[in-house]
């Protein structure tokens, strides 16, 4: 039996009024999906029922979540399913999953560098392992193993460091040598005659890839099933703050009064926080990715090379998905560039010369909200009732479930649960940064 996520119920206090019935269990999205239904639908040719519907924007909500990406939707789901919060709205200026959540390369792993980070991302990985059952939606999580290559002594040292930190947190992670790498990825050039010989790799068997759209749709469907209003094409244009507390949100579809607002807008998040008068150490940079035409499966694991600034995985359909580091400047533009593809191709071929005849199908780009320490900013802000779940940089997709779970608890109890306590906005005042650059700059 799958274990249900354990969420400590928040202290009731003034937030008690929110609950329809305290401790209400999660709802099951209807209609339920199953193999049987799929077969019977095949015979009857009937349409599948819409899984979420349009609502009018109501003048009042208990919680308004800005951003209909994975983080906003997961927060809405955990609030509704585990805390019985009833009147929740998720607002998105475009469509659900139109931001980073629909553009990422879907790598899920927990082999980070700091104990705080490893604990946090590992909780998310565990939630992902049970997510298909939890949401009654096939999220196609494929734990195919994750390799981070080291091409020099410095790199190898960081891999050893990460492996040791990972082990202390109970995460399966170890350094392996080129022979073992060759067994896992026969197509890779592990000889010492290359420009950047491979000295070893950090191997993380539980890591892998997931179907990112399915995760977004699964949370959206489950949240909608619990009565959450999902408002697409609804842009937030202002946030009302009186005497240091949030009182409402202005949108292109009317004003909403609410005492609780959550900023889940990733690349656009500084613009939203500014509306509430909250400053954040976040800058926005594009991150690009590309896929090739599909070919027969030959690459099982995810392969990342920090020195070559490139990573690759093969999807279930057979396409190779490539990515790199963020573009080296800030921007809100999601146009791809030729420099990116050129650099990518030359680096990929250093690792896997056999790919030289493959053709790229397309490239795209998404916005990343970068923080100085490559860790997220989650929790309350100096403005009462205004919460942030931002700073997801290039690594936030894997964190969706844990961030949603923790954010929901943070909102109902009005304080940060332990798992996110180190990721508060106040750390930039106290100087207690959570440096994850060594584990997050290239391998997302």
């Amino acid at each position: 039996m799958k274990k249900r996520p354990v969420v400590k119920k928040g202290q009731t206090g003034d937030s008690g009024a929110w609950r329809a019935s305290p401790g209400r269990s999660r709802g099951t999205p209807r209609p339920r999906y199953s193999a049987l239904r799929l077969v019977s639908k095949g015979f009857t040719q009937g349409d599948w029922a819409k899984v979420w519907r349009q609502h009018d924007v109501e003048p009042r909500y208990d919680v308004v979540i800005i951003g209909g990406g994975l983080h906003g939707l997961a927060t809405a789901y955990y609030l509704a399913a585990y805390h019985g919060v009833r009147k929740i709205a998720v607002l998105d200026k475009g469509y659900l999953g139109g931001g980073g959540s629909g553009r990422n390369t879907a790598i899920v792993r927990s082999n980070y560098l700091t104990p705080e980070g490893v604990r946090f991302y590992d909780r998310s990985l565990k939630l992902y392992e049970n997510l298909a059952g939890e949401l009654n939606f096939n999220v196609m999580f494929s734990q195919r193993g994750h390799l981070t290559l080291a091409h020099n002594d410095g790199g190898l040292r960081t891999m050893r460091w990460r492996a040791e930190v990972n082990k202390t947190q109970g995460v399966d992670s170890e350094v392996i040598d080129p022979d073992e790498i060759k067994k896992l990825v026969p197509s890779m050039d592990t000889s010492d005659r290359t420009r950047y010989p491979i000295l070893g790799a950090l191997y993380h068997p539980p890591g892998g890839i997931i179907r990112h759209d399915a995760v977004v749709w699964g949370y959206a469907r489950a949240a909608a099933g619990l009565g959450v209003h999902l408002h697409q094409d609804t842009e937030v244009t202002g946030i009302d703050v009186h005497h240091g507390r949030v009182t409402g949100v202005r949108t292109t579809r009317g004003n909403i009064s609410t005492a609780t607002v959550v900023n889940c807008t990733a690349g656009w998040s500084t613009l939203i926080s500014e509306m509430a008068g909250v400053e954040m150490p976040v800058t926005t940079s594009p991150l690009q990715a590309a896929v090739t035409e599909p070919v027969k499966p030959f690459l099982d694991t995810v392969v990342v090379s920090g020195s070559l600034h490139v990573y690759v995985s093969q999807t279930d359909r057979g396409e190779l998905v490539f990515g790199a580091s963020v573009d080296p400047f800030t921007s809100y533009s999601v146009r791809g560039s030729l420099e990116f593809v050129e650099g990518l191709a030359s680096n990929v071929l250093k690792l896997m010369p056999g790919l030289s005849k493959m053709r790229l199908l397309r490239q795209w780009s998404g916005l990343c909200d970068m923080t100085p320490d490559y860790s997220p900013i989650i929790g309350p802000t100096p403005v009462g009732g205004f919460f942030v779940d931002v700073g997801w940089g290039t690594y936030g997709f894997k964190a969706g479930p844990v961030a949603g779970e923790a954010m929901a608890e943070c909102i109902v109890s009005d304080r940060s649960p332990e798992i996110i306590a180190d990721f508060g906005l106040d750390r930039f005042r106290s100087g207690r940064l959570v440096g994850e650059k060594g584990a997050a700059a290239v391998g997302h």
Partner: protein, 84 residues
């Protein structure tokens, strides 16, 4: 490709430059308060639209140039402010 107008070399491809971001004068470490230093270290404006910023022409004249760039279109123009 995005181009940066260098006052000494003319418009050149952005790949020749290093982005330094919006002008951020460094406070005097001897007299700055902790709060001023914190702001200098971590808080950078992240505007949507035009911003005046510094680029370093690393693969060219190796000078710092001041440019106004629209962060949405990435269109750049020569900044009256002159080099940093």
């Amino acid at each position: 490709m995005m181009q940066i107008p260098c006052p000494w070399c003319g418009p050149r491809n952005a790949t020749e430059f290093r982005h330094h971001g919006p002008h951020a004068p460094r406070p005097d470490p001897a007299t700055a308060s902790a709060e001023e230093w914190r702001r200098y270290l971590y808080l950078r404006p992240n505007p949507y639209g035009p911003v005046e910023e510094t680029w370093y022409h690393a693969a060219g004249c190796r000078r710092f140039v001041s440019v106004i760039r629209d962060t949405f279109t990435n269109a750049t123009q020569w900044s009256e402010g002159g080099p940093r």
